[in-house]
């Protein structure tokens, strides 16, 4: 498979971010922060009216886009910025583009967008293919 600077990578979509998955991630992360588990806590803190996805889960979505775009490739480095929350029920789509190619190492920029709200995470990565 060949790549060129400016190529658009196939998007990766989560049709509906799952509150049940947030309960799993609380265990994976050993972090029972109730803003991920209890909507009443989210409301009480004035953070919205739906449970908030764990930030590392959002990073995992972005990694999934990269892994699907470069089958057999390996993420060498990745930087992610957290701009806003992802909530239960959100439709989340990761998009990306190739920004540089150096031999077998491809640099990409990517973003995680929520329908109706825009970009909530963004970042860059290098992939060894």
């Amino acid at each position: 498979m060949s790549y060129a600077v400016g190529d658009t990578l196939p998007p990766f979509t989560i049709e509906s971010v799952s509150p049940e998955a947030m309960k799993q991630w609380a265990i994976f992360l050993a972090d029972p922060n109730p803003i991920h588990l209890d909507v009443e806590v989210v409301k009480a803190k004035g953070l919205g009216d739906r449970v908030i996805n764990q930030g590392p889960a959002n990073v995992a979505y972005m990694m999934n886009m990269l892994m699907r775009a470069f089958p057999g490739g390996r993420i060498k480095a990745m930087d992610s910025r957290f701009l806003d929350n992802v909530y239960g029920g959100d439709r989340a789509t990761v998009t990306g583009t190739v920004t540089a190619i150096d031999g077998q190492v491809i640099s990409c920029a990517f973003a995680l967008d929520i329908d109706g709200r825009g970009t909530v995470n963004s970042g860059t990565a290098t992939i060894e293919i």
Binding site: F12, I14, S18, A21, Q24, W25, F28, L29, A30, D31, N33, I35, K45, G55, P56, A57, V59, A60, Y61, M63, N64, M67, R68, R74, I75, K76, A77, M78, D79, S80, R81, F82
Partner: protein, 152 residues
């Protein structure tokens, strides 16, 4: 004179060790559940989902999330927020492999933002090692700690 000059300085947390004593092993069943929770199937080549860079280092570092906040004189119930996370892998993470963590707080810097008011920006670095000491990754995480007690 900056308006920050009228505030007390951020706690001196830089240098706080985050070396862990726990061993983190990537469990095959958990890796499969994690992959499926994010919309993909687990890899068939023995590699774990790379997001374990964050999970393994957080779970096996020498302080809990609340403990890191405490080192910054910040109550975890006040809501630390992730600002950014970066990672550099030296090797892929493998299902069934066991790892340990070293690390430290790099800086805690007091700032003022229009959106959040006074906040401390925490940067800490963690390294994941095989049990023989071989480093497999290094990650820098930045958290924003909103200092509500300094709200105007």
């Amino acid at each position: 004179m900056s308006d920050l000059d009228t505030l007390p300085p951020a706690p001196n947390a830089a240098g706080t060790s985050l070396d862990g004593t726990a061993v983190f092993t990537i469990n095959a069943e958990e890796n499969a559940a994690l992959c499926r929770s994010t919309g993909i199937e687990p890899a068939s080549d023995g590699t774990a989902h790379p997001i374990y860079y964050y999970i393994a280092t957080q779970v096996a570092m020498g302080k809990t999330v609340a403990g890191v906040c405490e080192a910054c004189e910040f109550d975890v119930d006040d809501g630390p927020m992730m600002g950014s996370s970066g990672v550099q892998f030296d090797a892929p993470l493998m299902v069934g492999a066991s790892y340990k963590v070293t690390g430290e707080i790099l800086s805690l810097i007091r700032k003022r933002s229009r959106k959040l008011g006074v906040m401390d920006v925490l940067t800490y670095r963690l390294r994941l090692h095989l049990l023989d000491g071989t480093q497999v990754l290094e990650t820098d995480n930045v958290w924003v700690l909103p200092r509500k007690e300094f709200a105007a």
